[in-house]
Amino acid sequence: MPTLNDVMKRISHIFISLCCSIIFIWAAGYFFLSSLTSYEFEHNLHKYIHTSNTIHKNRSEGWATTRVGKYNINAVPDITKIREPKIAVWGDSYVEAWQVNDDQKMPQVITSLLHQKEIDLFCFGIGSSGDSVADYYFDMPAYEQLAQPVVAHCIIITNFTDISPDQTSDQKNGVFRSNPLRLEYIASRPSFQNIKRILNEWGLYFVWEPIRALMKTQIHLIPSIRQSSYQQSASEDPATGADIEGAWAFLLSKFKQQTEVPIIFVYCPAIPMIHNNELVLKNPDSNTARLFNQICAAYDIGFIDVSTRFLDYYKQTGKFPRGFSNTRPGSGHFNAAGHRIVAEAITAYIEMTRGS
């Protein structure tokens, strides 16, 4: 029968072991886990944005550190303090670019390239994971006011669902709907921000991971039936050609009404890519890209297709513009080379069209 002394020794041993393990996992998490994304309400923009003057570490895809500036602009502490004429680059997580360091993000590379060519323009990026064209539409006037003078808008799209209606809103403010075609603004509020802020301040990222996993876990207590592999999931009906052309025409006309400065859509498809045990070098959406280009031209909106540059890069180096050593090759977000390629494409376009 154990004595009280034995029990106390055992409890102390457990407690000390637990404390040592917490120190270990805190250190491991601090170095190997990504920061938690925290938000704050920005009164000028009337929405929740990434908490300004913070540092975001990304470790799950790539290995990079980002300085979050004011007004949801990464790598720029305060856009209002920059006097140069500006180009706004809009996008979702591709422009948010947690995966690469600040000096490798495409807006910063564009600025650097333009300055090398003695073109006095400053480029900044506005992007949050999950943002859609509707978000860019609603935010444009506010940013033109904050970051004036804005001389052009570049909108990064990686596929045509980015500009199609009725996509998953991902708890964002702007949504693009059909029947009837419309752009709606629904104010949303990110959750658990107080907890995330505290955990971020103390580097306690490891605390959030099991909480997040538990929230995603669905437990059922009642025995169920296993689905066989013969059961197939229902396929979604794709939009017809006429529907999507109408939607794009609507979208572009709305953008033209929202701003007087030039707009350029920058199409960055996921090629080359690995698909079905093959390396795909031909963009399956090239016809759609041509169609969208025609519609852009009809509305005097610029269109850049980066496909050829991506393919040239692969042919020269054997590397992909997407993907990192700790993720799958050719998939995911742009790596440093991908950002540079897109930046070069935009810079070349600006150089070419500058006079007009």
């Binding site: 169920s224 039936i225 690995i274 093959e278 054997g318 700790n326």
Partner: protein, 450 residues
């Protein structure tokens, strides 16, 4: 929950009922429709084995044993191999235009494992190696025991059933079992699942990758299947120990083996001993001359391969191991005894064994024999393509190699002695690592598919 109940309740019968109920609930949670199947298998094997024991006539005993053997194998064959054989027949030239009916059947969870357990029980009763179980609840627990029903170990009735007579649980078994469970969880979630993300992507798109990446993926799969299965076994053995049962060890650093015989004494030990006792020895073992021994080895290992899955790749994998065992026998008999080997020779033996086992896993993992041959050609004919050297995979390879070296030189710390001061800290760290750094997609246990 079951542990708390079992600890609180002192009555043996009530404890057994709780254990059986928990096992059936666990099984029904996956798919309650197959609970009936496991009950039918339990009842058939229980009563026919009793009948065998109570029958004096040798002919009748043999008939009953063959009957229950056929029933067990037919159930396994129907759910696991029917479609495989139909598709194989359809691919034959004579039957290529014949439309044979396949069945839309789900493979019942753990059927390969519990059918093998009941076959071993019936065989042991028939050969009088053990007396039959006379309590239906005890036997039902043996068949459906939830920690081991999904993917083993293939526990023998002769070692499991006596533990039910003096069934007790304690805090000390709880601690020892928890240690094994945590180690298994870490191996599965932190190591195996991360390796799986790399390996699965490689195998889905192997044609685009270069030779270096192909080698990395091949070695990674060797470690993935080891970590996955050894991790599961450790969890199962640990959970069993928590509940008061000692289950046979299933893995013992198999990649330290210096020949293929030794590998099979370290890898899936309960399966290899089952194949030895119920296939190889009844075929004659090594008692009928060397050439018959070689044939028996090949047949036994081919059946072992087929047990793993209904596909020709598994059959080929088993055949490869059978041939390797034959070669090992020939080498041992005619050329060299490994006990006389120098250190350098031991390293060569180890490297050759590891290389063979790793290359054999390619067939095991591939979706078809053609795919396996393509991967082999990528391994041995220099191929250009995409290079993908995932840093975490490389780190795991180095770490696992390091742990194996420590085990080989018998560093005690590797075994995490229960009474050492650092063991609990390490266990807590392993829990944290499994909880924090788990992949976003859960990978099913590899052997759950068997």
């Amino acid at each position: 929950m079951a542990f708390v109940l079992l600890l609180a309740i002192k009555g043996v019968i009530v404890r057994k009922i709780i254990l059986l109920s928990a096992s059936y609930y666990f099984y029904a949670y996956w798919d309650y429709r197959f609970l009936g199947l496991i009950v039918i298998v339990t009842l058939l094997n229980f009563y026919i084995s009793l009948w065998i024991e109570n029958t004096g006539s040798l002919l009748k005993r043999r008939s009953l044993f063959i009957t229950i053997l056929i029933i067990n194998l037919c159930l396994l064959g129907l759910f696991k191999y029917y479609n495989f054989f139909i598709h194989s027949l359809e691919s034959l030239p004579l039957l290529s235009h014949t439309d044979l009916t396949t069945l839309n059947l789900i493979l019942p969870l753990g059927i390969s494992f519990y059918i093998f357990r009941v076959i071993s029980y019936a065989a042991d009763v028939y050969t009088k190696k053990m007396a039959p179980c006379v309590h239906i609840i005890d036997f039902a627990i043996y068949v459906a025991f939830f920690p081991i029903i999904i993917s083993g170990p293939i526990s023998r009735a002769s070692s499991f059933l006596p533990q039910l007579k003096k069934y007790s649980i304690s805090i000390s078994t709880f601690y020892a079992g928890s240690q094994l469970f945590i180690i298994g969880l870490f191996l599965k979630v932190f190591i195996a699942d991360r390796l799986a993300m790399f390996v699965n992507y490689f195998y889905a798109h192997y044609k685009v990758f270069d030779t270096l990446t192909t080698w990395l993926a091949t070695v990674a799969y060797s470690l993935q299947i080891y970590a996955d299965f050894a991790g599961y076994s450790s969890m199962a053995i640990g959970m069993s120990l928590i509940l008061g049962f000692e289950i046979e060890e299933n893995f013992h650093f198999p990649y330290l083996a210096r020949n293929i015989r030794e590998f099979w004494r370290r890898w899936h030990i309960t399966l290899s001993t089952w194949i030895r006792d119920y296939v190889y020895i009844p075929l004659g073992g090594n008692r009928k001359g060397k050439y018959r021994t070689y044939v028996n080895l090949i047949i036994a290992m081919t059946i072992c391969g087929l047990w793993h899955g209904a596909a020709w790749t598994f059959v080929l994998w088993g055949l490869m191991h059978g041939i390797a065992l034959v070669i090992n026998h020939i080498y041992r008999d005619h050329f060299h005894r490994q006990s006389d080997a120098t250190p350098v020779t031991k390293i060569v033996y180890w490297a050759a064994t590891f290389l063979f086992v790793t290359l054999a896993w390619v067939v095991f993992r591939s979706g078809s024999i053609a795919e396996a041959m393509s991967i082999y050609s990528q391994l041995f004919c220099l191929k250009e393509g995409i290079t993908w050297l995932q840093p975490f995979i490389l780190l795991i390879l180095v770490a696992i190699a390091f742990v194996h070296v420590l085990s080989y030189v018998k560093v005690t710390a590797i075994s995490l002695p229960l009474n050492s001061w650092y063991t609990m800290t390490i266990l807590f760290c392993l829990i944290w690592l499994a909880a924090i750094f788990h992949p976003s997609e859960f990978q099913p246990f590899v052997y759950e598919n068997f």
